[in-house]
């Protein structure tokens, strides 16, 4: 059955310190986990939760986004009267780019007004997780909160940039600060906000009328006193992936079987664009351990502590360690990688050796030949 919740994936001004990985794509379409793009996690969570209608507020560099999402059929969202809506900014007006998300919500207020659901969830694309929004909505209704924010207790020193929140014993968020704030709390916001449609439209108009155009800062943070903003504590895994250190760390966490099982199967599967690659061919002489390997790879060399995306070729004698090789990468004979991130279609010539550090991995731009 449908969940009476409208989905929004808000790509407007996402905090992005992904360096070369977002040179030609938006944060939402950064490849992750061997075959996914970052947006797949929140989008699949929404679909699996029964959310019938998802709008993606696109912003910059969204060509890759359109390619990836297509008609939404891979997420079963190509529906008759609902489904997937990619809403780009107006191309005619360059000043649009500078404006905050509230401005874009306002331009598309029809989208909210027309949706049959009473509630809206506004999320970001860069949270790697598997969330059941039906449970979030249940808690939201039971608690009587105005806004419910999905939060997660995280260990000290997680590298991604995330807002921190202080929560009182009733579950109410009494303080919340941007990632650079000094608030001492191990609870981070997963930037998923569930609220009533009417309240959202009211906040959009009121904030804009006050000359303020930033949803979280101007509509939520500044109203923690007036509105009851509650935290929903997420139990599953979480990766806040918006800088290279976090990208590398959370990628490598997938090599822990319990993280792999939880992220990809609980509560439901993560969907992505189907690529029709054949199974991976491990040739005699291949030596692969402690790695995540996507389909369509052809491996003759050694791979350890690494993630290979679809269609990667590791030639004889090549050694790939602690590295991430995206789609169609080629590691030539006797090439050696350690702590590298190769973007799509990178070719490493025979005998080439590259080495980064786990703090600062070596990054090769898309289509480079090294």
């Amino acid at each position: 059955m449908k969940l009476p919740l409208t989905g929004v994936i808000n790509l407007i001004h996402e905090a992005d310190e992904m360096e070369a990985l977002t040179a030609n794509r938006c944060l939402a379409t950064v490849p992750f986990g061997g075959r996914y793009r970052l947006i797949d996690f929140v989008l699949s969570s929404m679909v699996n939760s029964g959310i019938p209608k998802v709008a993606v507020f696109a912003h910059r560099k969204f060509r890759s986004l359109m390619d990836h999402l297509g008609s939404g059929a891979n997420w079963d969202l190509h529906r008759k009267q609902s489904g997937l809506f990619v809403l780009p900014p107006s191309m005619e007006d360059q000043t649009d780019f500078g404006k905050g998300d509230l401005y874009h919500f306002y331009r598309h207020r029809d989208y909210f007004a027309r949706s049959a659901s009473d509630h809206v969830v506004i999320a970001r694309s860069h949270m790697v997780c598997n969330v059941d929004f039906a449970k979030v909505l249940d808690q939201h209704r039971e608690s009587g909160a105005d806004i419910t924010v999905v939060c997660k207790q995280t260990p000290e020193g997680t590298p991604g940039l995330a807002r921190k929140a202080r929560v009182d014993e009733t579950g109410r968020i009494v303080e919340m600060q941007d990632h650079f704030g000094r608030l001492d709390s191990d609870i981070v916001s997963m930037e998923m906000y569930v609220l009533g449609k009417e309240l959202l439209l009211d906040l959009v108009e009121t904030s804009l009328a006050q000359g303020r155009d930033h949803f979280v800062r101007h509509s939520v943070l500044s109203r923690l006193n007036q509105l009851r903003v509650h935290a929903y504590m997420h139990e599953g895994v979480l990766g806040v992936v918006n800088n290279i250190a976090a990208y590398y760390r959370h990628s490598m966490e997938l090599l822990q079987p319990e993280v792999w099982r939880e992220l990809f199967f609980k509560p439901s599967a993560i969907y992505t664009k189907v690529k029709d690659e054949p199974p991976t061919h491990y040739r005699s002489g291949a030596d692969v351990t402690h790695s995540l390997i996507a389909n369509g790879c052809d491996i003759e060399g050694t791979v350890t502590g690494s993630i290979l995306f679809r269609g990667v070729k590791v030639a004889k004698g090549a050694v790939v360690r602690n590295s991430i090789v995206m789609q169609n990468g080629v590691i030539g004979e006797n090439g050696a990688l350690d702590s590298c991130i190769l973007d799509k279609d990178v070719e490493i010539r025979p005998q080439t050796q590259l080495r980064g550090s786990s703090e600062v991995p070596f990054i090769a731009l898309k289509r480079k030949v090294i």
């Binding site: 075959r35 599967a269 054949p278 199974p279 991976t280 061919h281 351990t289 290979l308």
Partner: protein
């Protein structure tokens, strides 16, 4: 919409009795193959790549899994507004219904379906074979020869020829003789069960065949010989790439092992001729620190913690620590526990081989088979006594 010049009728009702426990609840075309696919994916993908966008799939035996797999045809891009894929089970009329009597009768019962597309040519294929073929080239040859029917043929070893429908042809490739499983074959050109017919000729032949009470209503046994007798223009079309009928446990196992060669003659990783299939939506395969994988094909969703040699692992298959899987096939979701040994075996869909168990052996004459959904466990006492 443009008229369909050529549509395909895909015979997918095969029972595949010789595949034993693997086809207990499964039509043969739905049998998993190549780590990711089901047999029928090959012919369906061939159709799409050949530009044939209207395909009738004739189901019969145990169609549930097959029909589920086919869905609305979207994995093959055959979910079309006009044409596309249509599943055609035997039809129950008011007075009841029966299974298709033979391959020709199956097409005969669906004359109305074909007529509704008003094609010039009809391609008859079977969902039982593994091969990659451009039917458009077959159609070109058919037209060039101004043929009534064109039969795709492949050279088989003379020793095997008596297991096939064998054609003798003249220097133009015109068929002069056709013998179904001849004792003393006069040629080694075997019919692949791929027929291109001019529709008007086929229609008439089917109506005549149906009226003939003596006929077993089969293409190879009845329709083709009768056409030949009547002097119809029957031509052969020589195919020389990989083609295999995976009708037995041995041939199914062999065909899978063929894929593990250094330069396999059936190339799955061919970007210009992808084999499409329904996606199981599984994450990238996980190869643990304790794993060793050599000369194998492994699909998404697998978890490998033991050793895998010269084997094919379908999506979601698991191999526990200390186990060895060698010269074997693990079908989708098959689970091998810890310290088990699987040698020269096929483990069926969702089957479980418990810790410490052994299946198959290097010198066994036959390929060992664990049926779909079966569970094999050591008796409690052995578990402790005999770690492998």
């Amino acid at each position: 919409m443009r008229k369909n010049e050529c549509i395909a009728m895909l015979l997918a009702g095969g029972e595949g009795r010789r595949l034993g426990v693997l086809t207990k609840d499964l039509a043969k075309p739905a049998v998993p193959f190549g780590g990711k696919y089901r047999i029928i994916d090959f012919t369906l993908s061939n159709c799409v790549h050949s530009g044939i966008e209207t395909v009738g799939v004739l189901t019969q035996y145990q169609p549930l899994v097959l029909t589920q797999h086919l869905g609305i045809g979207s994995p093959w891009g055959l979910d079309r507004r006009e044409g596309g894929m249509h599943v055609l089970p035997p039809y129950v009329r008011q007075k009841g219904g029966t299974w298709y009597k033979g391959t020709a009768n199956a097409i005969y019962q669906n004359l109305g379906f074909i007529e509704s597309y008003d094609p010039e040519y009809v391609l008859i294929i079977s969902g039982d074979h593994i091969y990659k073929m451009n039917y458009d080239l077959l159609l070109d040859a058919h037209k060039k020869n101004n043929a009534d029917a064109t039969i795709a043929v492949i050279s088989v070893p003379w020793a095997d020829a008596s297991r096939f429908g064998i054609l003798s042809v003249d220097e133009d490739g015109r068929v002069v003789e056709f013998a179904e499983k001849p004792k003393n074959p006069t040629s080694n050109l075997a019919s692949m069960g791929v027929y291109m017919f001019t529709w008007s000729v086929l229609k008439e032949a089917l109506i005549r065949d149906e009226a003939d009470r003596q006929s077993s209503n089969d293409f190879g046994k009845d329709v083709i010989p009768t056409l030949l007798e009547d002097g119809a223009r029957l031509f052969s079309y020589q195919f020389s790439d990989y083609w295999k009928d995976v009708g037995t446990i041995d041939s199914l196992w062999e065909a899978n092992m063929d894929l593990l060669e250094e330069r396999p003659s059936l190339q799955l990783n061919d970007r210009s001729w992808r084999i499409f299939t329904a996606s199981p939506n599984q994450p990238a395969q996980y190869v643990a620190p304790t794993a060793r994988v050599q000369g194998s094909l492994i699909n998404e969703g697998c978890v490998v913690e033991g050793a895998v040699n010269r084997s094919v692992l379908f999506n979601g298959a698991q191999v526990g620590e200390g186990s060895l899987v060698e010269d074997s096939i693990l079908m989708p979701g098959a689970v091998v526990g810890k310290n088990a040994k699987i040698i020269r075996a096929i483990v069926g869909e969702g089957a479980v081989v418990g810790d410490g168990c052994r299946v198959g052996s290097v010198d066994a004459a036959e390929i060992a088979v664990v049926g779909s959904g079966e569970t094999i466990r050591l008796p409690e006492e052995q578990k402790e006594a005999e770690p492998v």
